[in-house]
Symmetry: C2
């Protein structure tokens, strides 16, 4: 895999602070509304958003096979459909344009005025039109914790879990991006000891720390994707907060899984970090025993070392980090998830989003949900300032952050931030 843009020795003529998530080696993709109320596709270096539609109109991508309006769209779906070869050509070209040794745009102030925006001048949008959203359940620690609480601690992991990357379908229409506020959902619950259910605001709103990958067109109806090809259909990843109402979930989820407990909102970070940019951070995934069936078997390093954290900020208060986890804890890899998803011929398209499932590690401070962190309300979390929490309260803001780093470079995802408003 050749990714010139990943060269750690590169630096940009746009100044980038050392702890920025967006050095020239990142080059994520997103969609934003400019100061002129135009929607465009863009990327980001340091604290500048870059209008790729304008760059293309100015001829900077002329010898790359792209349609004229590929970046003048309100979603990335068509660009993602163009496939891996095109993504790489574009990412490498952006890397060249902003390389500190390249004077062409660096010395063209008129072009810069058209192309560069400070982050305050723009408003990030949902980056893709999500056709289908699937959520997996691929952290062994999370599945074990939930099985212990909702079912039987002695048999927490169900018999199929070690054989299948278990997943289920979710709701696309309520996936929102960072800074979109949500309402506490109402729903049916059956309070402990009650003989009848009630309808009202959920009393147990929770976050779920996840990541999600976004695919390109991968197959035709009836075709499978071999596991060794799966990664080439993955465009990139985002942070993903799969909001959950635990009291609604408990009452509704048997036998067909969570429904209204989850479909009121899920939040994603606005910049899609490409799988290409993450290549320096490949690591082994946990060893799998029993060995998976052949269609799920793979060799080498198939996970990614991505540091994750969650903070809660009460209204007018300061953030408290309540969880530190890592994407590499996932038992099932993205390739295994995608190979399994298509193992029956299910069609995968550009803009489909697949969530990892809650990413919990083995220590209690790495659990990826309040349900686990406060262990069903029995161990309230103490926040900076003295308040405690067993679930998310009205006006709390939940923020997910994620980044990779090594001695040479830091590639980050920025954040996804969501405030919970009271029920209507």
């Amino acid at each position: 895999m050749s990714n010139k843009a990943n060269d750690p020795s590169l630096s940009s003529w746009i100044s980038v602070s050392p702890n920025s998530d967006f050095p020239i080696q990142n080059i994520p993709f997103g969609v934003f509304l400019t100061r002129d109320d135009v929607i465009t596709i863009g990327t980001r270096i340091g604290d500048y958003a870059i209008d790729l539609g304008a760059l293309h109109q100015l001829g900077y991508f002329n010898d790359i096979p792209l349609t004229d309006d590929i970046f003048l769209q309100d979603t990335l779906n068509d660009f993602i459909s163009d496939g891996q070869k095109t993504w790489r050509l574009v990412r490498d070209r952006i890397s060249e344009i902003f390389d500190s040794t390249n004077p062409i745009l660096r010395e063209n102030i008129e072009h810069q005025k058209t192309v560069l925006f400070t982050m305050e001048e723009i408003e990030m949008q949902l980056p893709v039109q999500i056709g289908d959203y699937t959520d997996f359940y691929s952290s062994k620690e999370h599945a074990t914790n939930i099985g212990s609480m909702f079912r039987d601690p002695e048999n927490a992991l169900l018999p199929n879990w070690l054989h299948i990357p278990i997943g289920y379908h979710g709701r696309s229409s309520t996936i929102i991006t960072s800074d979109t506020k949500i309402r506490r959902p109402k729903g049916q619950t059956k309070p402990k000891g009650a003989d009848k259910p009630i309808y009202g605001p959920s009393k147990m709103v929770d976050f779920e720390l996840e990541m999600a990958f976004i695919t390109t067109d991968a197959n035709k109806l009836g075709e499978t994707i071999p596991i060794e090809d799966a990664e080439k259909y993955i465009f990139g990843l985002v942070l993903f907060n799969d909001w959950s109402a635990r009291d609604i979930q408990k009452w509704e989820y048997v036998p067909l899984g969570p429904f209204n407990a989850k479909n009121f909102a899920s939040s994603i970070s606005p910049w899609i970090v490409t799988l290409d940019a993450l290549q320096p951070f490949r690591v082994a995934s946990p060893s799998q025993t029993p060995e998976p069936l052949p269609y799920l078997r793979q060799k080498g390093n198939n996970s990614y070392d991505i540091n994750l954290e969650v903070s809660i900020t009460p209204e007018g208060g300061v953030p408290t980090t309540v969880c530190k986890s890592n994407f590499k804890y996932m038992y099932w890899t993205m390739s295994q998830q995608l190979a399994h998803h298509t193992s029956n011929g299910c069609k995968v398209l550009s803009g489909d989003l697949m969530g990892s499932g809650t990413i919990s590690g083995s220590t209690p401070d790495s659990y990826g949900s309040m349900l686990e962190l406060a262990w069903q309300g029995t161990k309230p979390l103490r926040l900076e300032g003295g308040q405690t929490r067993t679930s998310i309260e009205d006006y709390d803001t939940v923020t997910l952050k994620g980044y990779c780093s090594n001695d040479e470079v830091r590639i980050g995802f920025g954040q996804v931030l969501t405030q919970l408003l009271p029920a209507n």
Copy 2:
């Protein structure tokens, strides 16, 4: 509700046989490819498809507020977004244009040449881009049958079932229309007595007899839809065959519900019959005990009397009707389903599709799946010609049909026909 087009005394200058599903009182909506390879939105009377794009260009809808290209699209989503008032104006206008007493188009042979197609000249397409697909589980008889087989006959119906119109999210990308062939899915199963799962072609492919409704834009994120308003967001209905692989389902479905057992294909009939056209066939739904919570409570007749049947045709053989059921058997109504779906603020959009769940009646010949008809393989069905079936075999064609009728008029759905090919 005023629906001039429903007047049973109307007749069309296009001849319609008495047992046609498509008299002038139906006026369904669909999308088709014409003999000139153009995609257009159309309707159908008798055995003629009518190009609404061409009619609009010829000025027949001039005084109705419609954009110029509203029918020159490859999906109905934008027209559905226009809302109930517009659907009714258009349907009433079509009724006027084809009324036997109206000479305008009847006597304009040149216009007819542009507008009318025989069914052989066109190719029906998927009528909507389906954003989100939800499947409910609303037949009490079906839920009881499945609970008896998969769990415990003594407690077949789970405690939440009589309180919640249970539903789950499905896969939009694999919804296909009639005449699209599908492949037998492969997947993970755990054969009886085996200590490990295997991967290979499903041995228990099944149909599910369902109907599905298609919505318009209904609410904003966080808003609920009161049950008394729910029907105005329902554009119309189609026949729906929710293909299922029972052996995959059995192994994968606990705890998050069916996934690969269902997402390989679901088939819909190509003509969307409007809820307006079905008004003469409103009937009471089954009485509900215990009384639902207030947000699900409704008065009056809230179901529809739609006769349904399923046939199986082996390769080179004749069709055998294996099931006769009726939409009115559903315990939960469409209004209850939609009110429940949005009771937590979940956003519903134009083109969303909501399946009823398998529609089983109380007698064994009304069960809506092979799983129930052949009772888990213990009661093989005998087909015309002597073959037997406990599940769908390679090259079998499964056909769903549906119609309403009273003394005055018959309103039908046509059919959805799907042939199962062997696994790849």
